[in-house]
């Protein structure tokens, strides 16, 4: 059982702040690190993996700093996002080399290859592997020494659904075994399916933390903005504002549209067509104007 402690960690590159005063504790079980692209997830994982030093703050594994501490890798397994991995070797040679670097042997490599179900292709050159096969061999290389902490950077990127399921099963088993498994993703559904605990990071800041129900609620309960065009904008606006699901409406005469801010997402989406029919108003356009993941995340940061 191992715990990663990130304590008031910031990391900047020149003038750019990639990670901004983040504090979190990653314990046993599967944790998802969720955030849009460029949010600082990789920087954070690289600090947990000992590849980057925090500009301020500390990253420790069971109280021991990871930076400049090679012995930490006895307990940490790293699955990098990048594809490059000694393509001129066969899968078996690659995993055996990784085992030897841990002071282990071919037996441990074979066991790791069996865990990821790659024995059938272990004697082929890595250069011939598909993305999913590469990912599994990377997993095997990170598992040879049975680490108590497993760090995976965007492990599901480019995987097909079947490979995704297999990897999710594997990570679930690791988590159930009491290992500390942390993976990053920019896709909520992925994180929701796998992680019992979620850490959300946006624009380098720690935006939310908790189980997926809490995060999901935070994401759907936020105010939604819609752009609506209809046959009678003013009449529609008047009818909608009477209901508590709507917090504000702007009549944009130059655009010929309504900008509506809804506070109760479920209620508003049911109300809008009913109101329109009741007043014989034709709805021409109904489009959410802030549905991008980035805006969802930035709401979480502000919350």
């Amino acid at each position: 059982m191992s715990t990663l402690q990130i304590d008031h960690v910031s990391r900047w590159f020149g003038n750019v702040v990639a990670v901004n005063d983040v504090t979190m504790t990653i314990g046993p079980g599967v944790t998802g690190l969720l955030g849009p692209n460029g949010a600082g997830k990789s920087t954070l994982i690289n600090m947990m993996g000992g590849f980057l030093d925090p500009s301020t703050g500390s990253v420790t594994l069971d109280g021991t700093p990871i930076w400049r501490n090679e012995s930490a890798y006895r307990h940490i397994g790293v699955v990098p996002e990048r594809e490059a991995m000694y393509d001129f070797l066969t899968g078996r040679e690659f995993v055996v080399a990784n085992a030897e670097l841990h002071g282990l042997g071919a037996g441990d490599a074979q066991r790791a290859l069996a865990t990821v179900e790659m024995e059938y292709a272990q004697d082929r050159k890595i250069a011939t592997y598909s993305k999913g096969m590469r990912q599994r061999v990377k997993m095997a290389s990170a598992l040879v020494h049975e680490p108590s902490v497993l760090l995976l950077d965007e492990p599901f990127n480019g995987m097909d659904p079947r490979q995704r399921m297999q990897l999710m099963d594997l990570l679930r088993r690791m988590g159930a075994d009491g290992r500390t498994v942390l993976f990053s993703s920019h896709i909520l559904e992925e994180v929701e399916q796998l992680a019992s605990h979620i850490e959300v990071i946006v624009a380098g800041r720690h935006a939310a933390s908790g189980d997926f129900r809490r995060i999901r609620r935070l994401m759907t309960d936020r105010p939604h903005r819609y752009l609506v065009r209809s046959s009678d904008d003013r009449a529609l606006a008047a009818a909608l504002i009477a209901d508590p699901s709507t917090a504000g409406i702007t009549v944009d005469t130059t655009e010929g549209a309504l900008h509506i801010q809804a506070v109760d997402f479920g209620r508003f989406t049911a109300l809008l067509p009913q109101v329109a029919r009741k007043h014989s108003i034709r709805l021409l356009t109904v489009s959410p104007s802030d549905e991008s993941l980035e805006s969802v995340f930035s709401y979480l940061v502000a919350a």
């Binding site: 400049r68 090679e70 012995s71 890798y73 990048r82 490059a84 000694y86």
Partner: protein, 240 residues
């Protein structure tokens, strides 16, 4: 300070790449030149010294050194696969020393061996020319490997910088400009060769032996130490 697995990976990476063709091409060219010169001119000590000094030591050894030295680590850093070495309980200086050992071995095999063979072809080691230049190539292999391994650790343009150094500084300035010669691996190794040939007038260096040996050792040790330090704080490729 030496990890056999790191060494194995480095050998396979070095000799498996297309770049490795140059490792065979240059020595092949040297042997061809040696054979042609011998065939047209017969054995001549001065010509043998000119060919070994002008092509083997001034051009071929540094080029082989660039390929082996930068190739031992540069590509792994560029494509990010170095993380599989770094994420292990292996001391970073051990990784550097192992890779340096491999680079030196490869440079020696592909430069000193053909130099010796070419010397034999040219004048059958008359006046100790073949053996002296072989010693120079061996000594230069160590210094070049450590310099270019460091270069491969700190710069993504290591090959270009290495080529410029090898061709412009060593081959051109090193032979033309007085001051540059003092700071030239080629001249340092020539100083060793001069001593090895028994100062018979066939091989001459602008640098005295004590200075040459001191600089050779200093450059090799400093470059290796610094490369180990750089590797300890190497940021992953593609980091923002």
């Amino acid at each position: 300070m030496y990890h056999p697995t790191v060494a194995r990976l480095t050998y396979r990476a070095l000799l498996g790449r297309r770049r490795a063709a140059i490792l065979f091409l240059l020595p092949g060219l040297l042997l061809l030149i040696a054979a042609a010169v011998r065939a047209f001119n017969g054995a001549d000590d001065q010509i043998a010294a000119d060919v070994l000094g002008g092509f083997a030591l001034a051009t071929m050894v540094p080029l082989i050194g660039v390929i082996a030295g930068t190739g031992a680590i540069g590509p792994e850093i560029d494509d990010g696969s170095i993380v599989y070495l770094l994420a292990k309980p292996v001391k970073r200086p051990t990784i550097i020393v192992t890779k340096l050992t491999v680079a030196i071995a490869v440079t020696m095999v592909f430069s000193a061996v053909p130099t010796f063979l070419a010397g034999l072809i040219l004048n059958g080691n008359g006046q100790q020319i073949a053996i002296s230049y072989t010693i120079a190539a061996l000594v230069a292999s160590i210094a070049y490997s450590s310099l270019f391994l460091l270069l491969g650790t700190i710069s993504r343009h290591a090959v270009v910088i290495g080529l410029v150094y090898a061709l412009v500084w060593e081959a051109l300035f090193g032979t033309l400009i007085e001051g540059a010669r003092t700071l030239s691996v080629q001249q340092w190794s020539l100083a060793v060769a001069q001593k090895a040939s028994g100062d018979n007038g066939m091989i001459a260096s602008d640098v005295g032996l004590p200075v040459a040996v001191t600089l050779l050792v200093a450059v090799t040790v400093a470059a290796t130490w610094y490369a180990g330090q750089k590797l300890r704080t190497l940021a992953p490729a593609g980091e923002e």
